[in-house]
Symmetry: C2
């Protein structure tokens, strides 16, 4: 069996991931049992939620345990199989982990990707995977969007945010994004078609937010939390919707993210939190709609691809530095 | 015209209402214009939201201004009328204000109460007025209750809470109430039919809460906020509902009521805030259903009635001391 490099969780970080958080080791790839397939990792998705997985707090899946291979979602390719449904060469997605090889089996199911789509693997992992599906269901189902309403997206040049804003435009909304720095502001307006951008790194960002939302905010697609969410809530309209997708400003912080509930009450803002796994029964529906928009050219996408499994830990911190555009992912190997 | 005693807002309190908050004065009741009716105040409802009305913060109506008559909802009786729809002797409800006499007119409409109901005026003001309607629409519409689910009600022996819990029992739910002291705990179980009570004044109230909710909490009808809401959120089930009705623990406090949003996200707890005025188009429906349950003996009610308009300011503080049972109201005059 080939060598299998893998990152195991060595120490829970108090704040940012650091050099002691993961240990990189090499073991032989496992022998296949009946019903299993060996999958070579091609691309790994790097997401803010990865940081949650290594913290020992209440969360939506059990946290990764010390000594366990770091959990990771990605696209791989079957290289050997004792499962009649998975043939060598098949492209699959699923929980591959931060390693070169993983096992597809009933307790770790992987889905075969349709062959021959005119969509690159990075675009598939981005727009038609968990990222795009999060944007799609969060906005179209929980946001209850209406044409002409104002949609506010935080972390707007990020993976989920950039898709949310573009879907908002497809649905006829006024779309305002919050992002960091002039280049990202330019990007979401000129490249992605947002109506307005707010630069949270500018001293006058609160004034920018007010100017960009003259009719208030009807739907907040919340990715950030903290001060930014607080300022957004104070621009939200009566009976508006706060789709709670993430609170990235807080994931490296041991203190919980507190928010003012009295604003919710006075404005009757409904808070609708979700995790994309809630929508698993509807993934096919969402992926098809997203693939259609992608092929029609209605959804622009941008990936920041870091080369080499060994760079996973340092790459993960880029999510919290704002030091990337679009979807952050790791390229581990080329398809055969 | 008769003398009209009235409380005007003299000074905004920093925390609790005190002797300087209102000024009691006497003016002649106003002369009637065409289309108006003069209404004698009989009962005034005292509610936590009254405290919000005198604070200069964002809220769902303009705050009462300095020098204005204190806003108050109640039941009155028409004593003179230049409006063909309102006859002397008619009982009405509406915004009477903290005064002996008020004017019903197009800018301050009052509704005539049906004559001859076998329901006392205090019970009408309590169960079929804003209090009962708040309980009814909050639970049945926003709570999305199902038989067999667990309903948690904070401020459970209070005006709204005691009706919420009883409606929960009518709908077949397991109902747990949080209230202060052994006597109120006994009351909600023995008199109102709750399944369990948690005494928040006991040192082991968190353990009591855990023991009373072995299957977690599906619907939280939140009246309190603060530490109690935080503890309740940590007992709530995946995809449960938090009906946000009030945050009474915070109304005398100049610091906003902050709550941990990450729990909402991890458990996908939907937050549904409301103000009863949102349901104005459905008031008749709710009042009829509540009156039916009342006449069938399915809704017990309790009023704490303070006699005399002059006692309004001190009576209001009792809402925040827990020093009353059921609905607090002021009796100003007997009907003619």
């Amino acid at each position: 069996m080939p060598d299998n490099r893998q990152f195991c969780l060595a120490q829970r970080p108090a704040d940012r991931v650091n050099a002691d958080t993961f240990a990189l080791g090499t073991v032989p790839a496992p022998e296949l049992q009946a019903g299993e397939a060996l999958v070579r990792t091609l691309y790994l998705s790097l997401d803010p939620t990865n940081r949650i997985w290594i913290t020992d707090i209440e969360q939506y899946m059990p946290p990764v345990q010390l000594g366990e291979v770091m959990r990771g979602y990605g696209i791989g390719q079957v290289v050997a199989s004792k499962n009649p449904d998975l043939a060598p060469g098949d492209l699959v997605n699923g929980m591959l982990g931060w390693q070169d090889y993983s096992i597809a089996c009933p307790s770790n199911p992987m889905q075969v990707l349709p062959a021959g789509l005119p969509i690159t693997l990075p675009a598939l992992l981005n727009v038609c995977g968990g990222t795009g599906l999060t944007a799609y269901f969060g906005l179209t189902d929980l946001g209850a969007p209406k044409a002409g309403e104002t949609l506010l997206v935080s972390a707007a040049s990020g993976a989920v945010g950039s898709v949310v804003g573009q879907i908002g435009k497809i649905l006829g909304m006024r779309v305002v994004g919050i992002t960091g720095g002039p280049e990202k502001c330019r990007h979401i307006i000129e490249d992605l078609g947002f109506d307005a951008a707010v630069d949270y790194r500018a001293a006058d960002w609160r004034e920018q937010l007010a100017a960009a939302t003259p009719n208030g905010i009807d739907v907040d697609f919340e990715n950030v939390g903290g001060q930014i969410m607080d300022a957004v809530m104070r621009r939200m309209n009566l009976h508006s919707r706060l789709v709670l997708c993430g609170l990235i400003s807080n994931y490296n912080d041991p203190v919980p993210d507190m928010a003012d509930f009295s604003v919710l009450l006075m404005r009757r803002i409904t808070v609708r939190p979700f995790i994309i796994l809630d929508y698993a029964p509807r993934f096919a529906e969402g992926a098809m709609r997203l693939a259609q928009w992608l092929m029609e050219g209605k959804l622009k996408h941008r990936e920041t691809i870091v080369d080499g499994l060994e760079n996973a830990p340092t790459a993960l911190n880029r999510l919290f530095d704002g030091d990337k555009l679009g979807k952050l992912m790791l390229k581990v190997a080329d398809p055969a």
